[in-house]
């Protein structure tokens, strides 16, 4: 068999199915959970820990919990006391927005989906028209939330709760991507002034904690504005959060730009595409694709940072929670309250993370 043979084979071997043990559930289990001694030990330890944790959590959250009552003194159970939700849910969601007008916030929230979805995926019926709707959405939402055009005016200092987190977070997300792109391109510009400005902005903003930026925003922003213009504090927060996130965004995208081989630039140049067209059609689509994990990471960070609005006197969902746990009626319920708040953030951030994974998979399929 091992000796060289002078003859070529005359008959090719037929393809066979793989051995049973490598496919199906058993194959999967064996390959992933019990492939070696250490892997098997890890699997068993994990099963043991989960078997302790899951029943305890379910018990605390659901089985031994209580949902009725007017103060914490009505809660007589071992588990969680959810009695405050009934009273306080409105504040957690809407802050001090007048109860009779909260339907407007709900409508603005519902309209958010047709405004966002056409940008997140392909093949939606009427996608082109929906995108025009998206462009109009910020105006529609502003009118719905703040009033005007026959709707009762609601001053923005009444905005609060999770609604405030969503407003600041989504505005920051939508604005920081384009600003980040411009800064990233600016940082690579051949024109020194543009390059220096971009580098200066990125380094200055990145080098300072967001909380500091928020504190100084009422000193900093008026420098760039005409003297008689005063900014609403929510607008101020959105500007600062956007500036902060776009500095990180710029660096993430710069990484993506550096991953594009120089041949792509050359091919675009050789075809006669000008700078903006080659960026828009050739370079950025590829650079952004490479940067998706970093971009989403920045989005998630930004969204969680919206809780910092508390330092300029706004009450987001966390601010409301802080206020509630120091209220004598509900004193001591901090675990319940913060778990509840965490669930909101987790839902949004986890959705973003899953979306980005789905998007990466879809784009990868397209390539190969």
């Amino acid at each position: 068999m091992n000796s060289p043979s002078n003859e070529a084979i005359t008959q090719y071997k037929e393809a066979r199915p793989p051995p049973i043990a490598s496919v199906g559930i058993i194959g999967w289990l064996r390959h992933n959970l019990f492939s070696s001694v250490s892997n098997t030990i890890l699997t068993l330890v994990s099963i043991y820990l989960l078997s302790i944790a899951i029943p305890a959590i379910v018990d605390w959250v659901i089985l031994s919990s209580q949902i009725s009552g007017d103060t914490r003194f009505d809660c007589k159970v071992e588990g969680a006391c959810w009695a405050w939700i009934d009273q306080r849910l409105g504040q957690f969601l809407f802050g001090f927005y007048p109860a009779s007008e909260r339907w407007r916030v709900v409508i603005a929230f519902i309209l958010l989906f047709p405004a966002l979805i056409p940008w997140l995926t392909h093949g939606i019926p009427g996608q082109r028209y929906l995108r025009w709707f998206s462009v109009a959405y910020p105006v529609i939402a502003t009118i719905l939330l703040a009033g005007g055009f026959g709707l009762q005016e609601v001053p923005t200092d009444k905005f609060g709760g999770f609604m405030l987190n969503l407003i600041v977070g989504l505005s920051g997300i939508v604005l920081s991507l384009p600003v980040g792109i411009v800064l990233a391109l600016g940082r690579q510009s051949k024109l020194p002034l543009i390059r220096w400005f971009s580098i200066g902005f990125i380094e200055a903003v990145r080098g300072v904690p967001l909380i500091t930026l928020l504190f100084v925003s009422n000193i900093l922003l008026p420098i760039f504005l005409p003297p008689d213009v005063t900014l609403d504090s929510i607008i101020r927060v959105i500007i600062m959060v956007t500036a902060f996130a776009s500095a990180y965004m710029a660096e993430v995208i710069r990484g993506g730009l550096q991953a594009i081989p120089s041949g792509q630039y050359e091919a675009a140049d050789a075809m006669g595409l000008n700078y903006w067209k080659s960026m828009r059609l050739i370079i950025l689509p590829q650079a952004l694709r490479v940067s998706i994990p970093g971009i989403v990471n920045t989005f998630i960070g930004l969204f969680k940072d919206t809780t910092l609005v508390i330092v300029i006197g706004l009450f987001d969902i966390l601010g409301i929670a802080n206020a509630m746990v120091s209220n004598p009626d509900w004193l001591g319920l901090s675990t319940e309250t913060y778990v509840f708040v965490a669930a909101f953030f987790f839902a949004v951030c986890f959705s973003m993370s899953r979306y980005s994974m789905w998007l990466e998979r879809r784009l990868a399929r397209q390539r190969h």
């Binding site: 006669g272 595409l273 067209k277 397209q366 190969h368």
Partner: protein, 256 residues
């Protein structure tokens, strides 16, 4: 030399005129006093050892590289820093690269229609028709809706050629178009190039495929250390190389 003059009487347009071209990368003198003129329909093959400045020379023709001294005139337009001329020249000059440089995020047909649509303002339907025509010509119409990553190297290079042709260029530049290919794919690309040569395209080709050079070139240029060492018709070039450097080069590349 003489053959070209006979084949190209004076009424044939001069499409590229290079005079006294000098270029430096930093302090490195990469192109030294290059003069070269190319008539419409002429095919010029450029060969020479690696690092001799072949790529740099043809990249100067569409201003991917900026020169410091001398004049380059393409289709009557002089290449200076003037962006308008550069754009105009790039519309008339197609380029095929060693590493294909297809756009991986676009399908084959989108690669081909991009420049016609965005640079020439061709309507999309017309651009697609044109693209299919050229994909047909490079013999891969059936791959039109695949992505570059799904094609073999030879197929990718043929798409790259079709993509350039979709701009209906007057001049085509090739920078070692077959050097990155597996041996069995070189022929399919060369066949397409021979076809293109037969159709009367003006071509500047950097290549070491001497069979191709012998078949289609009007002139072969041998470069070394940033200079044109020798320029001749294929017959003279192969049978009667003048410089020792050329002889050595030919013996090296023809021996395998």
């Amino acid at each position: 030399m003489d053959k070209r003059k006979i084949n190209n009487p004076d009424n044939h347009a001069r499409v590229i005129e290079i005079e006294g071209l000098n270029k430096w990368f930093g302090s490195f003198h990469v192109l030294r006093d290059i003069s070269l003129s190319v008539d419409q329909g002429e095919k010029i093959v450029i060969c020479g050892p690696s690092g001799s400045g072949k790529s740099t020379l043809i990249r100067c023709v569409n201003f991917l590289e900026e020169h410091q001294e001398g004049q380059i005139t393409v289709d009557g337009l002089e290449l200076t820093g003037d962006l308008k001329n550069i754009d105009a020249v790039r519309r008339e000059v197609g380029m095929v690269f060693q590493s294909f440089n297809l756009f991986p995020h676009l399908s084959v047909i989108e690669n081909c229609t991009l420049a016609p649509i965005w640079v020439r303002k061709t309507p999309q339907a017309e651009a697609e028709e044109l693209a299919m025509e050229y994909l047909d010509r490079v013999k891969i119409p059936e791959q039109a809706h695949k992505y570059p990553g799904q094609l073999s190297g030879g197929q990718q290079q043929r798409v790259a050629i079709a993509r350039s042709l979709c701009m209906k260029p007057k001049i085509m530049l090739f920078d070692e178009p077959t050097s990155a290919l597996d041996p069995e794919m070189i022929k399919e690309v060369l066949d397409v190039m021979v076809d293109l040569a037969d159709s009367g395209m003006t071509m500047l080709v950097v290549t070491h495929e001497m069979g191709f050079a012998a078949q289609v070139a009007d002139q072969i240029i041998f470069m070394d250390e940033g200079q044109i060492v020798e320029q001749n018709t294929p017959t003279e070039f192969f049978d009667n190389p003048r410089s020792d450097r050329t002889k050595l080069f030919l013996s090296q590349i023809l021996s395998h």
